[in-house]
Homo-oligomer: 248 residues x 8
Amino acid sequence: MDQTQLRELLERVRAGETDVDAAVGRLRHMPFEDIGFAKVDHHRALRHGVPEVIFGLGKTPEQVTEIALRLQANASNLLVTRASKECAAMVLAAIPEAEHFPLSGCIRVWKDKTMRGRGKIGIVCAGTSDIPVAEEARVTAEVMGNEVFAIHDVGVAGIHRLMSNREKLMEAKVLVVCAGMEGALPSAIGGLVSVPVIAVPTSIGYGAAFQGLAAMLGMLTSCASNVTVVNIDNGFGGAYVASLINRP
Amino acid sequence: MDQTQLRELLERVRAGETDVDAAVGRLRHMPFEDIGFAKVDHHRALRHGVPEVIFGLGKTPEQVTEIALRLQANASNLLVTRASKECAAMVLAAIPEAEHFPLSGCIRVWKDKTMRGRGKIGIVCAGTSDIPVAEEARVTAEVMGNEVFAIHDVGVAGIHRLMSNREKLMEAKVLVVCAGMEGALPSAIGGLVSVPVIAVPTSIGYGAAFQGLAAMLGMLTSCASNVTVVNIDNGFGGAYVASLINRP
Amino acid sequence: MDQTQLRELLERVRAGETDVDAAVGRLRHMPFEDIGFAKVDHHRALRHGVPEVIFGLGKTPEQVTEIALRLQANASNLLVTRASKECAAMVLAAIPEAEHFPLSGCIRVWKDKTMRGRGKIGIVCAGTSDIPVAEEARVTAEVMGNEVFAIHDVGVAGIHRLMSNREKLMEAKVLVVCAGMEGALPSAIGGLVSVPVIAVPTSIGYGAAFQGLAAMLGMLTSCASNVTVVNIDNGFGGAYVASLINRP
Amino acid sequence: MDQTQLRELLERVRAGETDVDAAVGRLRHMPFEDIGFAKVDHHRALRHGVPEVIFGLGKTPEQVTEIALRLQANASNLLVTRASKECAAMVLAAIPEAEHFPLSGCIRVWKDKTMRGRGKIGIVCAGTSDIPVAEEARVTAEVMGNEVFAIHDVGVAGIHRLMSNREKLMEAKVLVVCAGMEGALPSAIGGLVSVPVIAVPTSIGYGAAFQGLAAMLGMLTSCASNVTVVNIDNGFGGAYVASLINRP
Amino acid sequence: MDQTQLRELLERVRAGETDVDAAVGRLRHMPFEDIGFAKVDHHRALRHGVPEVIFGLGKTPEQVTEIALRLQANASNLLVTRASKECAAMVLAAIPEAEHFPLSGCIRVWKDKTMRGRGKIGIVCAGTSDIPVAEEARVTAEVMGNEVFAIHDVGVAGIHRLMSNREKLMEAKVLVVCAGMEGALPSAIGGLVSVPVIAVPTSIGYGAAFQGLAAMLGMLTSCASNVTVVNIDNGFGGAYVASLINRP
Amino acid sequence: MDQTQLRELLERVRAGETDVDAAVGRLRHMPFEDIGFAKVDHHRALRHGVPEVIFGLGKTPEQVTEIALRLQANASNLLVTRASKECAAMVLAAIPEAEHFPLSGCIRVWKDKTMRGRGKIGIVCAGTSDIPVAEEARVTAEVMGNEVFAIHDVGVAGIHRLMSNREKLMEAKVLVVCAGMEGALPSAIGGLVSVPVIAVPTSIGYGAAFQGLAAMLGMLTSCASNVTVVNIDNGFGGAYVASLINRP
Amino acid sequence: MDQTQLRELLERVRAGETDVDAAVGRLRHMPFEDIGFAKVDHHRALRHGVPEVIFGLGKTPEQVTEIALRLQANASNLLVTRASKECAAMVLAAIPEAEHFPLSGCIRVWKDKTMRGRGKIGIVCAGTSDIPVAEEARVTAEVMGNEVFAIHDVGVAGIHRLMSNREKLMEAKVLVVCAGMEGALPSAIGGLVSVPVIAVPTSIGYGAAFQGLAAMLGMLTSCASNVTVVNIDNGFGGAYVASLINRP
Amino acid sequence: MDQTQLRELLERVRAGETDVDAAVGRLRHMPFEDIGFAKVDHHRALRHGVPEVIFGLGKTPEQVTEIALRLQANASNLLVTRASKECAAMVLAAIPEAEHFPLSGCIRVWKDKTMRGRGKIGIVCAGTSDIPVAEEARVTAEVMGNEVFAIHDVGVAGIHRLMSNREKLMEAKVLVVCAGMEGALPSAIGGLVSVPVIAVPTSIGYGAAFQGLAAMLGMLTSCASNVTVVNIDNGFGGAYVASLINRP
């Protein structure tokens, strides 16, 4: 029941065409989603600048392309994450203005480039192998309307490189820090800055890294109080939260 | 080497009392921390309103009391977390203006009550057993200068209670959501709001809850993109990050 | 907004005292829970015979007693699980008609003894050490209005004892099977009967039993298709589901 | 020893051709399975409508086809789960009336379409990636003689979609709920309905999902009392138990 | 139905007092356990020398004493494992001929001292902390009628001590080897002897020993082919199997 | 230093050509392995009938073939386990009398067929998917000189099939029982027989089976005292120990 | 057979009292340990300065005191680790020159204070809660003859404090770094120095720290190549290896 | 700011061209890395003989070749680890003096062959399957300027082979011991020698080996005090630390 239908029902009550008992009956069972949907709309309005997002993993190229075409009709911006090469080729053939980021498997349609953030989002990664996750974060943060800078390859074992980037790090309103292996970088950076640090454990490493488990546990037990954690390899999620934090 | 010493050295260079080579030599070995310390001060200034914090677990009542007295001399606000009853008794005897929160084991000296947040922080917990963690979060968020509201006992299995708090939830600039067992509440709330949700898994539960592991894994794999996670039972950490997010 | 208020609003619309726009406005923001609450009531009605339940673990004797007194005012039947001895003493002092089951820590007020089940619920346990969990299941199944029989100590390594209970097992409409150690009993029983088997892993065992993990994994990978699993030591949950299955 | 042989033996005892001692001797060693087999038959009779089932994983196309042909000779209905494409091609060539469900890898021969259930079975899944598991559940529930409805893509983070399906959910006599990631959907649905909820964790997700472990632990520690759990990705098992629950 | 009843039935058939149909009917439902019981008896006969065993963990002193008294009436030998001090005191008061082994918590009544083994059982432990588990093994092996020798404190890191016991080790028909920490001793001994080695991981150690998990995994992946493993700290089980192996 | 050299040294001492001090010096540093080697030989003699064994996993076909040819020169019997198809083709080309067992990947040269066992070894497996592991066990037990019988597909959920094999099971001197999923079969069989049961967990199963972990933990916590466990999928190891147990 | 007996045998060979065959026979079975023992002695000599060590955990005060008295008779230096307070009191009463270190539970007799190291050993710990482990390391390193310095409380989240200790850190020949929580300190220090870093994970932390597991996995996956790891809380082991590294 | 710029600034201060305040201001913000870089150089100088190292895993052949060419311009020695065959082909085409080690995937340019170690490094491995890890260790130790010897295939279950290598083992200044399965070899060797043992768990094994977890836990809980551990399969890291230990 949408507002039009609700209005019609009330008009009929007013006109005496529907009696009060019947109206109470209908309204008591008034499907929640209809009122709710208004809220969702309002809610959506608050989220201006949030692109439509398709999680590509486990979907066929055909499925992704079809969903992308449908969503793109109504949305300024569109983001596909974890798309295979085949998938990317098909989407780019269908949507010529789409960009492809092969390292991370992102596909992006970025038409509304309004900047919406209060400050900059810094994307930091510990090693070159973490770059795909950092790229997913950067692509996400940009399409959500943020000024972004990236710092690569500043692991905790080369602390001089980290320290030489202090000034840069302190420019950020929020940081997304990607690290595999022992995942110590968010703690080290967390101690250098006073803004929130979103830690993204990566599955980089071998042996006792256990596909990101070591990094994940390390980040959750960080001795720096300004660190929070998202799922392993979840560059998108890290940047999504960072974007919300960066909103006015 | 502090600024005074640096200035003296440069004055001597200027006066020709120290030659350039010697000055280069001294400056090359100028202990990092001294320059760094200036930065720390500046940095500290940015963090106005962050209380001094003592993690009480594993410290004797005497140790906590001594540290509390020393810190309290220089700081407006002081927070002790995870203090035993014995510890609380000793600290309260020594610092009469301190408050004690027995459920969570927090002790707080709250002299500077300046509000610093942009909006409200909502603290939500899933069950009555999660209240101690939520209390730690509330006490922390308050002492860091935030307007706080708390919603208790809105588990995901009683979704009507959750839904009836939607309006309230939407007032928050950031939410701290504490849940044990399957830890599903942050996902459900994450879908209702468009602000960041800091998920705090709690060790509440038994059997397959594995002391908070089930909740922690669940929160990290949340299907809501605005959820990040801190350590199990870390109400302090959840509120700390929420406070930073709530800063202008 | 309850039905009375909704009716009043509609009456005012009918009477022309409230115009349609204002009514639409109020109804659009009509708190969900009020309509929802009606549903909850209806829903509750469907659940006739479900006792009020208090999970005693982590609550003080005072808390449990207070909640028990309040709930007991409105409910025929009341169940407290995992109550300590101190807690039981206090509840029994306050509610004289309550029964105490020391092995499992259950407390029960059983005033409405209406039988509601289609058939019998069989509660089976593998070893004498599993009896506390089985008792929690039996007490729960009884208070929910089921005819219950119990079979103790029929582990899979003593298959003759199991086989000699086949006839009994086949009387049940649904079985709750509690087992620790390797947790093989539900599989063996699942192969003998054609009704649902609710498997309850127990934390009985040591070493590689890992507090019920071995049993839990074993039950989840059961080769019998009629087995489902609840949490470790969750005799209450096993019997609760069994009771729902046994309803007409 | 079947009934005929048993009868012959007793006839010979009666006729004095076999003495009592010899008969006692034979009967004492009477192979268990022969008497038991009678029971199995009877037992099988109780299970009318349970199809013959082949678990396809790890069997060659030839093996599956051969077993399918043999079983199909005696059974009205046949279900193969987890069949590869090659396997499906071979079975469909051999049994023309078989249907193939490529998403889930099911093959079904559905000749006896008698409805045997008391009510409807609802199959719900959290995300589109969970559909293969839900399809396995639906195909199973149908072939076992149940009226089935399916609801897709109602994750806990989009609670409005879930709420808008409440009426539908309440039509079911039992629900099978498939979810990966944090696996929170069964808890949320468990709180909305008063019937048993069979939770099927799926291996959908990455990182901390640990191939379904996060969902499985979450479901086992559900705060909703009407939830039980089967193995990860076990759509068949979930529907099998649901079918038994739905029997009169 | 025992043999007497079976014989009576057959006599009645022979005498024509019971007709064949009735007899078939009764025999078809003849409780399994009765025939089975004959087998159990025969079976028990084969197990001559196997003591009655009570697993004391989780039983009250009263329960253990009562069971011990009842079993001891019919059995020559009795073994209680994992008995608390209180339990031991009560049992010894009730059964004066019982011995108590405080390190391991065993209580033994050893009246039938017949030697039944083909050769000797060697009980080896890696460190002095493993002695309680080794004692449980020794007490068990003795009461089951074996000649036993024990070698203590021959860890793999002191390989000279191990090598100096080679001759002794080679006297055994089967070895029970108890080790905590890294659990390497069974592998080293397995390479020195050509008889079966029953490895008993112990929970001795800390940190990465994870309560015996490290030792257990190490023993299961032993590079010596003659090693099998029982549960952590299961000295009884190790010796039980060793005794069976040592039987003629 | 072999015996010849030792004899020469002693002859020189006797002849006065080497003085005692020099001889003590040489003998004190006499390489251990030489004396040891005598022991190894003697030791090897005790192990008559143990074939040379090559673990094929991770070796190239060329490596396996070369080692097989070299070993086969001195040994009557040879066993290769876990050989790939390519490897098997190459070995069979080189050693025409070798047999290949494609299910398990075993290759066997069985020239010395002397029977060495005291009794029969029974190899049992729970499901058809466990047959490869059971085949590895059978091939191993045969080549080590044992009379072997095999029982397939007697899972614990079809307890009638298990019971109908009781007589057969009781013929064995030792049993090797292979099972995946919940791994309950060794417990059930352990309760039926009084001989040692070597349990071999298999990696058969999915989800919560965790590649054999569930079966392995279940077998280690078996409630049957006559069960010991070897590594997951280690059919060879199970049969090797069974063969040692079966030796006179 | 010791050297005297060996000499006597050879003298008898020389004198013709024992023939060569008999001597070969005896020498072939010459117990390994006797020759070996000579090597052990030599070996022990190489280890000059290694104290006798008693691991106190799980030993009674009486046992520790008795062993301490016996060992102390022959050794200059003695170290007891993990001693309880009761144990320490008893040992100090028996050995007046012993020192007690209550934080770590160490007891030390340090008579031979010879310095044996090439350089200094630095003991670093991340937080004040790690001090007990660091103290065990320091006490061990000292008694093994090393010059030791300690740096406390330089966690990776307070990188300025770490950097200000760079000069000090670079004085060490080898470092022992103790850290709990995420265990990142060894990586950070490993990047600053070019000497070996022995990482000691501590069990400090809660929740996802899992009793030191997070720190242990983090250290094993360190991105600094000069880091090796010992067991959780094993301050003794860390210092022991550091001492060996520091030997000339 | 490098030394030249620092000198210029001081010259300008001296010349009165820059006043002291301005100089203090610039120096206070003087980028840390510039002074730090001097230290890095000095530091690097200390590390003479440490080759440039590229971790090949997860890098494309093009990336590895480009980095190799760039590094090789400035460095005498270069090591690539975990290079694929394609990668090796490309690097060897570009750098003709490079050697390739196919078992381990190492590529090495070894121009500066200066020996820098105090003694020998022994590389030991337990089984032939561990040789690739041992090769990575050997190649690393050599290129870092150490005399290296290797002992292969001396598992703990064939203790005679280990004992026969005692003399050899005692020649080493430090040992790198690689073992999979139960990982017991470092403990056994640790008890034979008095030098540090760097244990490298390998992922060799199956089932309960859990990709090296069993070996890793075993090594961390070693009962030999001179054992430390690096990551699973980390032959490079083991040899790197060994090289540092072997430095004067």
